[in-house]
């Protein structure tokens, strides 16, 4: 199943946020979206996932989703969006409760999702008892439970400290390697984009337009090796040079009340 951004534009009132953005995420492909802050990255992801109606254009799907997928387009949120009154297990089970799956199957899906994120021993704890990294693991576990075809990840690591980010990045590399799962990964962190993505969509400053689509010519496994470091850094620098001036402008912009 492919996810297509078909000429998507969006305005918030007078403010043009996205301008004619088009690209395709192929089956199993990981596409990162980067750009200066305020370029509409998160807005674009909300539109792609059907949580926000674009002013013009549309998100589209091509081809059938995998047969076992209960929610082909599944979000992982920056702020985790966990139900604070529910345990880890209940949070992971939440998106399955209204589906047609049997109780036995539901338990198996929850079990599998908890195991893949290393949360099995934490099933009875509440979100407030967990560290930020573990909370985001619950968010990822919940997403895995519904067998997504494409993960829509909205700055999933930006609320976390750098060590936790590093650990979760390793999890992402592993999960995206074995699942045949695709992802749209919104981030302002170029290193994360270069580590994970097959292609990197670079957006311009508001209103966000596609400036360039950069391919990462390595497998994700190769990128973990020391030899790949230099190439990845060069890639990051190339993207940074595209964004830098606009990032400065974006930073200096005075917000209108």
């Amino acid at each position: 199943m492919d996810l297509i951004a078909n000429h998507i534009s969006h305005r918030f009132g007078d403010l043009a946020v996205l301008d004619d953005v088009s690209f395709t995420v192929g089956a199993g492909e990981v596409v990162a979206i980067v750009g200066p802050s305020g370029c509409g990255k998160s807005t674009l992801l909300s539109i792609l996932g059907g949580l926000l109606q674009p002013t013009s254009g549309a998100p589209e799907l091509r081809g059938a989703p995998p047969a076992d997928s209960l929610n082909p387009l599944t979000f992982v949120f920056q702020d985790f969006a966990l139900l604070p009154w529910a345990t880890v297990e209940e949070n992971v089970e939440f998106p399955l409760l209204h589906t047609q799956v049997s109780a036995t199957q539901r338990r198996a899906l929850v079990e599998d999702a908890l195991r893949r994120t290393g949360l099995t021993d934490f099933r009875k704890t509440y979100p407030k008892q967990l560290s930020g990294g573990m909370r985001q693991r619950v968010g990822i576990s919940r997403a895995l439970a519904v067998r997504p075809a494409i993960l829509l990840m909205d700055e999933p690591l930006s609320a976390l400290d750098s060590q936790t980010r590093e650990l979760l990045m390793e999890d992402f590399v592993r999960l995206l390697a074995d699942g045949g799962m695709g992802a749209v990964y919104v981030t302002h962190n170029l290193e994360e984009a270069a580590r994970l993505a097959d292609r990197i969509v670079v957006l311009s400053r508001r209103p966000g337009r596609i400036r360039e689509v950069v391919s990462v010519p390595m497998t994700r496994a190769e990128r973990g090796e020391i030899a790949a470091r230099e190439k990845l850094l060069a890639l990051q620098n190339q993207i940074w040079s595209l964004i830098r001036n606009e990032a400065i402008d974006a930073e200096r912009e005075v917000q209108h009340a």
Partner: protein
């Protein structure tokens, strides 16, 4: 460079400690302080009564109040008055709360209910509900109904307001999360909005409990044979200040018990906070 930093800058200068200036602003309540103070006040009050410093007609000693409560309990009058009040509070509070929760959720979830509901609530909420009692007596007769209706009305408005504020305060991102998993509307209301609004709803109970108590006493003072309010008024008319204060103490005790029940509910239902 580094070595020098560890040595005092001038050899013979005296060192001074940095003055601590972070004290205060953390009032910790001690466990027994309040009880000791309360016991002290009661003791002084008792002493003033026993020594004849205070005329018992104006302020009977605590022992006299305790005796009055004991005698009331023994004669069965206490239960007669208390049960009448409890019935009114109980029924009125339940009716007002049920209606308030329903309307509060409607206002929190539907645009139509919101525009209509908020206008009506803003207009009607400020009316002291006891002012409606005479009208309610005309409509409903002189039995229990107008008293219960007064309490229900008072409870209804406060509940509706705290419920829709609670619904409004449910984090938007949780609702978006549920929508991103195609969770149906009714399930979102049940599994996300309801638990998310529960803290505000329980906080509202604290307010409506005191509203109900205030209204039951007022209503009973206006027209009732039995009930703590009627009893207190009667005792005042007969200048039986020990009986009067016995009634007041019972009201205070009732308020404390309700507060405890709500505390218990909060620890049971909101343990996740």
């Amino acid at each position: 460079m580094l070595d020098r930093a560890t040595e005092p800058s001038t050899k013979d200068a005296v060192t001074r400690r940095v003055r601590f200036r972070g004290a205060g602003f953390v009032p910790a309540s001690s466990r027994f302080g309040g009880w000791i103070a309360l016991a002290l006040v009661i003791a002084i009050w008792q002493a003033a009564g026993s020594t004849g410093l205070v005329n018992p007609l104006f302020l009977p000693a605590p022992s006299a109040i305790v005796r009055a409560i004991y005698e009331l309990a023994l004669s069965g009058a206490l239960w007669q008055h208390l049960s009448a009040s409890l019935l009114r509070i109980g029924v009125g509070w339940l009716l007002g709360t049920a209606a308030g929760i329903a309307v509060g959720f409607a206002i929190g979830l539907s645009r139509l209910a919101r525009s209509v509901g908020i206008t009506f609530i803003s207009a009607l909420f400020p009316i002291p509900k006891i002012a409606l009692l005479p009208l309610l007596i005309l409509w409903l007769g002189i039995g229990e109904e107008p008293k219960i209706a007064t309490i229900a009305l008072g409870v209804f408005f406060s509940t509706a307001i705290s419920v829709y504020s609670g619904v409004d305060a449910v984090p938007r991102n949780l609702i978006r999360m549920a929508q991103s998993f195609n969770v149906p509307f009714a399930t979102i209301v049940r599994k996300v909005v309801w638990p998310g609004a529960l803290p505000a709803i329980l906080a509202g109970f604290r307010i409506t409990a005191s509203v109900a108590l205030l209204l039951v006493v007022s209503a009973e003072m206006i027209g009732a044979q039995y009930g703590i309010g009627a009893f207190v008024l009667q005792a005042g008319n007969l200048m039986q200040t020990d009986q009067l204060l016995a009634g007041v103490v019972i009201l205070s005790a009732f308020g404390l018990v309700v507060g405890r029940v709500i505390n218990w509910l909060e620890t049971r239902l909101l343990h996740w906070r």
